[in-house]
C-alpha cells in the first residue's frame, strides 16, 4: 500500500535542487525557482501532515492519527526501502518547514548575489532533501544514505565563505562527520548481521520476540550504542559537542540557523526513533552467552530493557550538555558564539527529558517525549530566529562582537525587540513556546520523582541550574549588544529593512504558537504516542512476509 503523499516532500526538494542547478545563468529565475520550490515543499509537508494528524486531533474534537507508508518502487517491505510517515515524522517535518522557509527567504536577501548563483540554492535544497529523507525513512541503511545527503551540502555550506577560519572549521567538521559515517556503517552492518534485516519496523518486531527469531539481543545493544553515539554527534550532545561552535560561526547566518534548528533535530529524531520505536521493547536476554558473561562480571544486564540501560547514559550526556553549554555561553563575547554554546545547552534539556522518558514508567515516558518534542520545536524556532538576527546585526553594523556593539535597542528598535522576544523564548517566559517547553521538562522531572526514579531529583536541580544559566547569558547578550549608549559602529549602522521584516515575522511565531499552544501540545502528544506505539508502526509497514 503506497501513499504518494509520503514521498512528495522528498521529490519536491530534490527536483527544486536540480532545477536551481539548471537555472544558474539566470539569477532572478534561479531565486524564483528556489523560493517557489520551498513554498511547494511547505505545501507538500502540510498536505502530508494533515493526512497523518487530521485537524480534528489538533483541535481535540476527535479523529485518529494515521501511519502512512510508501514502498519505493513497490518492493514489499522488508526487501524494498520503506518510507514511513507517522505523527512523529510529521511533527519533525513541520518543524523543519517552520525553520527553512524563513531561512531561505532570509538567504535570498542576505547572501551575496554571486554566491547565490554559484551553488547556494541547490546546496540548500539538497540539504533539505537529506533532512526530509532522514525524517521519513523506515530503513536504517537508507537513514545512513540520507544522513550523507544532508551532510555533504553542509560541508560545503560551512566552508562557504572560504577564508582561513572557515576552511579550518570545515576541515574539523568534515573529518569528524566522515568518521561518524564510517562508524555508523559499521553499526548498521553489525545490526544487519545480528538481526537479519535493515527495515526498522522489522528490527523492532524481531527484537520484541528475539527468542523466536534466534537473535541474541546483547550484540544489538552494543551496536545500538555505536549508532546512538553517531546520532549524538549529529545532535551535538556532550561529549560530541566540540565541533558545534566553530561550524556555526563559520557557516553563513541562515545556514547556522538551519543547522541549529533542523539538522540537530535530525539527530534528536534519530535517537527517539532508535531508542523508543526500534529498541522500545527489546530486552537483554538472560540465557545467551554474552549476557551470562556480563552477569558473571557483575554488570547484571540480563533481563533489563535497552531503554533502561540507555537511560543513565542519556542522563549523564544531558547534564554535561546543559552545564557545559550554559557555562560556555556565559563567557563568550560574540553573538554567534553565545548562540552556538546555548544550543549545546538547550539540546541538553531535550536529552534530559528523553533520559527521564527512557527510565520511567509509561506515564513518565509519554510526558518526557512530549516535553522533548515541544522543547525541540521551541529551540528550533527561537534559536534559528536568533541566528538570523545575529546575521542581520552583522549586515547592519558589520560586526557581532560585543566590543563593537552596544545600544542597538535605541538605533534599531525592531531588531532589538526581535532579539528580546527570541531571547526570552529561550529563557522560557510565558506565554511563549519556551515557557511550555521548560514547564513540561520540569513537569516530567516531577512525575519521575513521584514515580521514584533514582536520578529525577538531580535532573530537576540540573534543569534549574540550566535555566538560571540561560537567564544569565541571554541577559548578558542583551546588556552588551542592545543596551547602553550606541557605539560608533552602531551609530553608523544602516537599516536592512527587508531582513528585519523577515526576522521580526519569524520570531513572532514563538508568541503565536505559545498563545495558541493547545494544538501544538496535541501534535506533540500524537507524536509521542507514535514514537512509543510500535504495534502501529510495525503493522503499517507490514514486514510479515518473512517467517
Amino acid at each position: 500500500m503506497s501513499e504518494h503523499v509520503v514521498v512528495a516532500p522528498l521529490v519536491v526538494a530534490l527536483v527544486t535542487a536540480i532545477l536551481t542547478l539548471g537555472t544558474r545563468r539566470y539569477p532572478r529565475g534561479q531565486r524564483a525557482v528556489s523560493l517557489l520550490g520551498i513554498g511547494a515543499y511547505a505545501v507538500a509537508v502540510l498536505a502530508l501532515a494533515s493526512r497523518v494528524v487530521p485537524l480534528g486531533v489538533l483541535t481535540g474534537s476527535g479523529g485518529t492519527t494515521e501511519t502512512l507508508t510508501y514502498q519505493v518502487s513497490n518492493w514489499p517491505a522488508p526487501f524494498g526501502i520503506s518510507l514511513v510517515a507517522d505523527a512523529l515524522s510529521a511533527f519533525m517535518l513541520v518543524l523543519a518547514v517552520a525553520v527553512v522557509v524563513p531561512a531561505l527567504v532570509f538567504s535570498a536577501l542576505y547572501v551575496e548575489e554571486f554566491a547565490q548563483r554559484v551553488s547556494y540554492h541547490s546546496l540548500f535544497h539538497f540539504m533539505l532533501a537529506g533532512v526530509t529523507g532522514a525524517f521519513l525513512t523506515g530503513d536504517i541503511f537508507n537513514l545512513f544514505v540520507w544522513f550523507e545527503v544532508m551532510l555533504m551540502p553542509s560541508y560545503v555550506l560551512v566552508v562557504f565563505y572560504g577564508r582561513a577560519e572557515h576552511t579550518r572549521a570545515a576541515l574539523q567538521y568534515t573529518v569528524l562527520n566522515l568518521l561518524g559515517s564510517a562508524v555508523m556503517l559499521v553499526a548498521i552492518g553489525g545490526i544487519y548481521a545480528t538481526v537479519g534485516t535493515l527495515n526498522m519496523a522489522d528490527i523492532a518486531r524481531r527484537l520484541a520476540h528475539a527468542g523466536e527469531f534466534g537473535i541474541d539481543p546483547a550484540p544489538v545493544l552494543g551496536l545500538g550504542a555505536i549508532l546512538f553515539a553517531v546520532f549524538a554527534l549529529k545532535a551535538g550532545i556532550v561529549p560530541f559537542q566540540f565541533w558545534v561552535p566553530a561550524a556555526y560561526r563559520a557557516a553563513p547566518a541562515p545556514i547556522a540557523a538551519v543547522m541549529a534548528g533542523v539538522t540537530k533535530k535530525v539527530g534528536i529524531y534519530a535517537i527517539i526513533r532508535l531508542l523508543f520505536t526500534v529498541f522500545g521493547t527489546a530486552t537483554v536476554g538472560g540465557g545467551l552467552a554474552p549476557a551470562r558473561i556480563a552477569e558473571g562480571l557483575g554488570f547484571g544486564m540480563a533481563g533489563k530493557s535497552f531503554l533502561g540501560l540507555f537511560g543513565p547514559v542519556l542522563f549523564l550526556m544531558a547534564i554535561g550538555s546543559i552545564l557545559l553549554g550554559g557555562l560556555g555561553a556565559v563567557s563568550r563575547n560574540d553573538l554567534d558564539d553565545i548562540l552556538a554554546y546555548s544550543s549545546i545547552g538547550q539540546v541538553g534539556f531535550i536529552v534530559l527529558a528523553l533520559a527521564l522518558a527512557a527510565t520511567g514508567p509509561q506515564a513518565v515516558r509519554t510526558a518526557g517525549l512530549i516535553a522533548a518534542l515541544v522543547y525541540s520545536l521551541n529551540h528550533a524556532i527561537a534559536k534559528s530566529a536568533l541566528f538570523l538576527i545575529s546575521g542581520t546585526v552583522y549586515e547592519a553594523v558589520g560586526s557581532i562582537r560585543f566590543d563593537a556593539l552596544g545600544g542597538l535597542s535605541t538605533r534599531r528598535p525592531i531588531l532589538a525587540s526581535s532579539f528580546f522576544l527570541g531571547g526570552i523564548a529561550l529563557v522560557g517566559i510565558p506565554p511563549l513556546t519556551g515557557f511550555f517547553g521548560k514547564l513540561l521538562v520540569f513537569d516530567t522531572a516531577g512525575k519521575a520523582i513521584v514515580a521514584g526514579e533514582p536520578f529525577a531529583g538531580v535532573a530537576l536541580i540540573v534543569a534549574l541550574a540550566g535555566a538560571v544559566l540561560t537567564i544569565a547569558y541571554v541577559s548578558r547578550a542583551w546588556n552588551r549588544a542592545f543596551w547602553g549608549s550606541p557605539s560608533d559602529p552602531v551609530t553608523r549602522s544602516y537599516q536592512p529593512t527587508a531582513l528585519v521584516a523577515v526576522v521580526a515575522a519569524f520570531v513572532l511565531l514563538v508568541a503565536v504558537l505559545g498563545i495558541g499552544f493547545d494544538p501544538v501540545y496535541r501534535a506533540a502528544e500524537a507524536a509521542a504516542h507514535a514514537a512509543t506505539d510500535r504495534t502501529e508502526y510495525v503493522e503499517a509497514v507490514a514486514p510479515e512476509v518473512i517467517g
Partner: protein, 134 residues
Amino acid sequence: MSAVTVGTPTILLASTSAGSEAGQPQVVLAIVLGLLFALGTFLVLRKDVVRVVWGVTIISQAANVYLVTMGGLRGAVPIISHGGAHGEVTDPLVQALVLTAIVIGFGTTAFALVLTYRVYEEHGTIDLTEVSGR
C-alpha cells in the same frame, strides 16, 4: 584507492569460502579489519592534513570490508528462507550496500582532498598544529 587493494582479497576470500571449513576467512578478515582500523586511527591522529584524510579514507574502506564480512561469507544470514533447496548463498544485499557506501566514499574523499588544498591555500601549511594555532 585502498578500496581496490583491500576489496579484491575480500571477494577472493568470499568465493573460496563456500565450503564447510569457512571459519578461516572470518578469522583472517577479523585480523585484517583490526589492522585497517588501527592504521586508519593512527593516520587520523597525525598532524598532517593529507595523512588525516588518508586515515579517514582507510577507516571508511575498512567499514566497507566489515560490511561485506557481515554478510556472512558462508551465506549464514540469508535475507529470505530458501527452504534448503538452493544450498548456501552469500547474501547479495551487503554487496549492494557496499556499492552505495563506496560511491558516497568517493564523493566525500574528493571533497576532503579539495578542502585540504583550500586549507593549504588559506593557511600556507597543512600542519594541523599551525592551522589551529592561528
